[in-house]
């Protein structure tokens, strides 16, 4: 259960310690890519909790979303339209939705466990 967090912390530590930097002109792309990745991550967790998790969908979604978001931002820069806003909006909304669903499922599970416990004590 804690393995994903460990992975996240490991990634953060590795990134911060090695002090890798990208040229500032690619900053926008990376921020959008981060958003896309987060969206996919939470989407995956939600799917797992809802028991509809599919490996292929998860992995392909991860890379495809990142590339699409960065591509949209790239296109936006070259067309002079802030297209990356579309990506930010879409991913932002989905992120909130996914987190809300995850929260509901977790609360539901917790409640169920609680009820089971109380039933046991009554018996």
């Amino acid at each position: 259960m804690w393995l994903p967090f460990l992975g996240l912390i490991l990634g953060l530590a590795l990134g911060l310690l090695t002090d890798i930097q990208i040229p500032s002109m690619y900053e926008n792309y990376l921020s959008i890519a981060v958003l896309a990745a987060l969206d996919t991550l939470f989407g995956g967790i939600r799917a797992y909790l809802q028991q509809v998790y599919d490996d292929k969908v998860f992995i392909s979604g991860f890379f495809f979303n990142i590339v699409l978001a960065a591509g949209l931002a790239f296109l936006g820069v070259h067309l002079g339209v802030d297209l990356y806003l579309a990506a930010i909006f879409a991913f932002g909304v989905r992120l909130f939705q996914n987190i809300a669903v995850i929260r509901r499922i977790l609360i539901q599970k917790w409640d169920e466990r609680h009820i089971k416990k109380s039933e046991k004590t009554i018996e």
Partner: protein, 238 residues
């Protein structure tokens, strides 16, 4: 939890963490680097040295006063106090002062007047720029057309005439007296004003700025009205 799923999610969260860290590294402001070379450092140091010596001399002067207070505790404390008051009054501009300084005169440029140019009153902006520059070059006391410049003095345009301390100054012939710490400083001020662009600036308004030679003794009259304080209140009683 299914181990395979956990591994996948762990890998993805590792990548996400890495991306966030890289983004953070890129976005965070690089700490400002000191790019001054040794010459600039030297100049900065000399500025600070100047400040240092100024502060030291102030401390010396104040210590002097403290010593006087201590020594004369029984005898003439009153004298010392009145000396301090005198000194403060002089600084505030309530006393007549005499000392080395220069006299600057502003008069209409005759050649321009003769060829038909009209004379404008001296613009307040030019005047306060001049006063600021004089202050910058350590002019201690300033008087403009008989008006002592104190800390509350306003140089401004009132109904089309330039005023100092609320009193209109002469339209064209104005004498500015400046007193400095020492004769050397008066010389310095004279040199600086001679090379500054003030003469040209006044000439645009058809006025001649004549910067007098440094003199050993210039007298400036006291500020002839009561100083008004907006925030300080006099304490009555002991």
């Amino acid at each position: 939890m299914n181990m395979k799923v956990v591994t996948r999610i762990t890998i993805v969260s590792f990548i996400v963490g890495l991306m966030i860290a890289v983004q953070y590294n890129t976005v965070k402001e690089p700490s400002a680097r000191d790019t001054r070379d040794s010459w600039e450092l030297r100049q900065a140091l000399s500025e600070e040295k100047k400040r240092h010596s100024q502060l030291l001399s102030e401390i010396l002067a104040l210590n002097d006063v403290v010593n006087k207070y201590k020594n004369n505790e029984t005898e003439n404390l009153g004298d010392v106090l009145s000396n301090t008051v005198e000194h403060l009054k002089q600084e505030a501009g309530l006393l007549e002062v005499t000392g080395p300084g220069i006299t600057i005169t502003i008069s209409p440029a005759m050649e321009l007047v003769q060829s038909g140019f009209s004379i404008k009153p001296i613009s307040p902006e030019l005047l306060y720029r001049l006063v600021n520059e004089i202050n910058r070059f350590e002019g201690q006391f300033i008087e403009i057309d008989g008006q002592r410049v104190v800390h509350t003095t306003a140089i401004r345009d009132i109904n089309g005439s330039t005023t100092v301390n609320g009193i209109p100054i002469s339209k064209s012939d104005v004498e500015i007296k400046v007193i400095t710490d020492s004769y050397e400083k008066a010389e310095k001020l004279n040199n600086y004003l001679n090379i500054s662009s003030f003469r040209d600036a006044f000439y645009i308004d058809n006025l001649n700025l004549v910067i007098g030679k440094p003199e050993k003794s210039v007298t400036i009259a006291e500020y002839d009205r009561a100083l008004e304080n907006e925030f300080l209140i006099e304490q009555k009683g002991e």
